[in-house]
Symmetry: C2
Subunit: 368 residues, 2 copies
DNA sequence: ATTAGCACTCTCGGCCATAGAGTGCTAACG
DNA sequence: CGTTAGCACTCTATGGCCGAGAGTGCTAAT
């Protein structure tokens, strides 16, 4: 946790390499051409497309220098140049003309959120959908979760089939339902039949005693409670612990077919491995420590990723939500040949938008 | 709704075509070989693999007959035979030696469900995951939904930020949360500040009056209620209406990468269109009327599907849940070259298993 | 009715030649 | 000295060609 490989790579790329004016513009041009066309870019076609005021030979020598620095690479002698991961890194750090998102795009996104009567899961789904559509990449959004779950309110309901439902509201407004264990209930009921009135009484007791408490605090009160109340409180503690522990439980993804469209994944074998990682949400675990260190957009390019299967993709992610209350991540996944100047502002904007939504609603309605 | 193209195709295939004993076994062998190998199967290799007691020439003539009937087809003059959609249909209808699922597989599946403390959304996720894994196809599971939502119980909670949360338990045990509209609340509060006690009172009133009522019935009581209670009841009615209307809202899929693995989808272009349909859940709409007509497993092969993008895939689906209380669908999607003898029993078993789960729990915990 | 035999067809993989794009180097130029 | 034009070189991509192999359909014999 103290030092972090990704951070190191970033520092190295941003700090140590000094480029001449010309090298910079050549690198920028190569990256941007390649991102557009997916074809290795040669010196000649480059001067053509960009109307540079130098000849192809000059560009060639600049390219050779950039290659020596490890910023470009050669698929083979006599093909054009392709940016290396480090090249993309430098581009992202200092060459890219980054902007805030278009006013127009901002409004369009806002509009879509305003459109529907939404619960928070649907926000997430929508966020993923918007992200995928406007970056043409795969999008991933994890729900914002409490860091330290606290009890707020409980209610016990008897259902038609005589089973008991425990509806639990957490401090951050999350709501969790859990059925009470049938066996235990029957054991308790054997001594003393349990009516809805009893349930209400238990709920009232807990609602008076427990608000604001975390899992271990609830545990400590168990002994002071009657058997039924204790059983319910035990369930409460379990739920709180789960909410503490589970950082990622469900992840919303969208736009996988966008990635399929990319020529680098036309042979689906590579993509399979990426999808598998995505499906199992493994990479999110890796992401979390990085993201919790700081707000803002984080970019992980190709081999900077510690997961092998992800060596040919880039991630552009940002955390959202207030640290220590509710924190999730959202972002996009695409080939390293990613339109960073578009992806980064979009992710940033969506993260701030989600922040807004959370803070105005206090994450009130959740989990449909 | 009166007549249905898929049904017609089935009848035609099952009813009209009479095959000789030999033709049947050749067709069966071709289908099974092709499903295994994904390679067009020739007469010679076929007699080799199946140890038939006839020569390749005989098989050839049988193949020619089957081709004339439209059950097999020829990629080109001198390649082996491949089953047509109709060929698969006939195989599924009458040639396949279908069985119930292995005792062992049944237990393994049961075991996985028993493993975890699950809420119903996690059942669905797990069902999709199991289905995908044990058929090596993409799996789709839609939640079982009430047909006619009924009120059961409501609770009003004041959150830390002063917004009010309405927690609503439906007749089938589904739980929905909704935040109360802030503007309205403030308007009501201006005349008469609203305390948690007031909220409890309102909840108690509604819990006494409304249980068992459907949306229109709730609407009819609105006039008899006080302003705050009426506002809450209005929200209740809205939620009930939404639950009535929404047949499909979220769909759980899994195992997409399994389909990517299939050779027919190595060139990802075709798959893209399928994925797109899958993502937008379009096909489920098409599925629902068919499935609600009857219990049991339904198979839709290639061109039998009305959606163009799905002409190269087969669906094996079954409804689950009790009609008119809660009904969802689950099943798998794969290339037409699908291992039907495995997929069908698996889908069937999982559907009955879900039925069991629903009826024992009365669909109690849901929508975590 | 079945089978053996045979001529025919078509794909697939390897091989070669060619065209085209791009490079690296060198020598000339301002 | 940086820049540029020119040129030889390298490598890929493309298309044609050939032979092997697999499979078919037909016919004649059993």
């Amino acid at each position: 946790m103290a030092k972090d490989p990704i951070e190191q790579v970033q520092k190295k790329a941003a700090g140590r390499i000094a480029l001449t004016e010309r090298q910079q513009s050549v690198l920028r041009a190569v990256v941007e051409d390649y991102v557009m066309t997916a074809v290795p870019v040669g010196s000649k076609s480059l001067v053509g497309r960009h109307g540079l005021s130098v000849s192809s030979a000059t560009v060639r020598s600049a390219m050779a220098e950039l290659e020596a620095l490890g910023l470009l690479s050669h698929p083979h002698t006599s093909a054009g140049r392709v940016p290396s991961d480090l090249g993309y890194r430098l581009y992202v750090e200092s060459l890219m003309r980054e902007s805030v998102l278009d006013r127009v795009d901002q409004l369009m996104i806002r509009h879509q959120f305003a459109q529907v009567q939404l619960t928070s899961n649907e926000w997430l789904r929508l966020a993923a959908s918007i992200l995928a559509a406007s970056t043409s990449s795969a999008a991933v959004v994890t729900p914002a979760r409490s860091r330290r779950a606290k009890f707020s309110h409980v209610q016990l309901v008897e259902l038609a089939d005589r089973s008991r439902l425990c509806v639990l509201v957490l401090g951050d407004g999350n709501v969790v339902q859990r059925r009470l264990d049938r066996g235990t209930m029957e054991r308790l009921a054997a001594e003393n039949p349990v009516s809805q009135t009893d349930l209400d009484l238990v709920a009232a007791t807990l609602n008076a005693d427990l608000p604001g408490l975390s899992a271990p605090q609830v545990r400590r009160r168990l002994s002071r409670l009657g058997p039924l109340a204790a059983h319910v409180a035990e369930v409460v503690a379990q739920v709180l612990e789960e909410a503490d522990g589970i950082v990622v439980e469900e992840v919303f993804t969208d736009g996988i077919s966008n990635v399929l469209e990319q020529p680098e994944f036309a042979q689906s074998a590579k993509l399979r491995r990426v999808l598998e990682v995505l499906r199992r949400s493994e990479f999110v675990e890796q992401l979390l420590p990085v993201l919790s260190r700081g707000q803002g957009v984080h970019v992980i390019i190709g081999h900077e990723n510690t997961i092998d299967a992800m060596h040919e993709v880039s991630l552009v992610f940002a955390p959202y939500g207030e640290p220590d209350t509710a924190l999730g991540v959202l972002g996009v996944l695409g080939p390293t040949r990613m339109p960073y100047p578009r992806a980064i502002p979009t992710v940033r904007y969506l993260a701030t938008l989600m922040n807004e939504l959370i803070s105005t609603s206090h994450y009130g309605e959740t989990h449909d």
